[in-house]
Amino acid sequence: MTCRDLIDFLDDYVDERLSLIERAKFELHLAACRDCRNYLASYRETVRLARAAGATEETAAEMPADLVRAIMDSRGR
């Protein structure tokens, strides 16, 4: 497996969808390639950060009173 092959399998590896044989090949390459280990770590961090990116604004968000009014008015029509 080369670094290019590893990229192709990255998502399936992170989501644990690789077969045992594919996973073994993937991890054999990782064990020998520090660059790919670093890339994998930053890729995983990217996914984690993306998933966390929307949460705070959501818990803090409020519905503006004028939008509530506009929706209620439209509902009455």
Binding site: R4, C33, D35, A41, V47, G54, E57, T59, I71
Partner: protein
């Protein structure tokens, strides 16, 4: 139609949700206002994320809520009310995005890893610095807040087709099948596009996250056509 997972936090207990639903179904005016005040803020946050500007977000929420009101009799209670409303808002946003017209597809090849002919990396794999807390809970530190802002800004820089897939899968919580239905794509196309979007986002974040690199050193504009940049409020 796709079933979207629950919003990250539930505003009211299930028993109260049932009571609210019963009042909605008999046309209790105050129940509608209660629904909007309890769920509307977070639904508006979803629309803001997806639409990228306040006006479109508000329009999408208004459309979504009006169609939800009309469809209340068809809500079967198999999912939570919040889940059902979230799905309707996501679909309203996607419809508005389609109505505004698809932009020409922009290549993100410049943001993907590069390899030599023998398949090995052309660039060394970067080491990212410690990112601190990205915990989205209220009261988390400023580093977490700033990191989230940085991530959001870079998600918004992705070409629309990639941004939308990443938003639906990683932020709105749709699975591959649900995103495929919502986007009218095959599940395999969603998987491929998501993988490329994540790689591109990783590259956009790299300049800020890389250990020992000066902040903001890499210009995404060199890799993506600047004309594709979305309008932000």
């Amino acid at each position: 139609m796709a079933v979207v997972p629950s919003l990250p936090s539930q505003p009211i207990p299930e028993a109260d949700e049932c009571a609210l639903l019963a009042r909605l179904r008999v046309g209790d005016e105050r129940a509608y206002e209660q629904l909007l005040s309890q769920y509307g803020g977070r639904l508006l946050a979803v629309a803001r994320r997806m639409m990228g500007n306040e006006e479109d977000a508000r329009d999408a929420v208004q459309e979504a809520m009006l169609s939800a009101f009309k469809a209340l009799d068809r809500f079967d209670g198999k999912s939570k009310l919040s889940t059902w409303l979230h799905r309707i808002v996501v679909n309203a946003c996607l419809m508005r995005m389609r109505a505004k017209g698809r932009r020409p597809e922009v290549s993100i090849d410049g943001l993907l890893p590069r390899f030599q002919e023998d398949g090995h990396r052309r660039d060394p794999g970067p080491v990212w610095k410690s990112l601190g807390s990205a915990n989205p809970s209220p009261g988390s530190g400023i580093e977490g807040t700033e990191t989230r802002r940085l991530v959001r800004a870079n998600i918004d820089r992705l070409p629309e087709g990639y941004r939308t897939v990443l938003m639906l899968r990683d932020i709105e919580g749709l699975d591959t099948e649900q995103a495929a239905i919502a986007l009218e794509m095959t599940p395999n196309a969603v998987k491929t596009r998501l993988h490329r979007a994540r790689q591109a986002l990783r590259e956009l974040l790299d300049a800020d996250m890389r250990l020992g690199s000066p902040k903001g050193g890499k210009a995404w504009r060199s890799a993506i056509d600047p004309s594709d940049e979305r309008e932000r409020p």
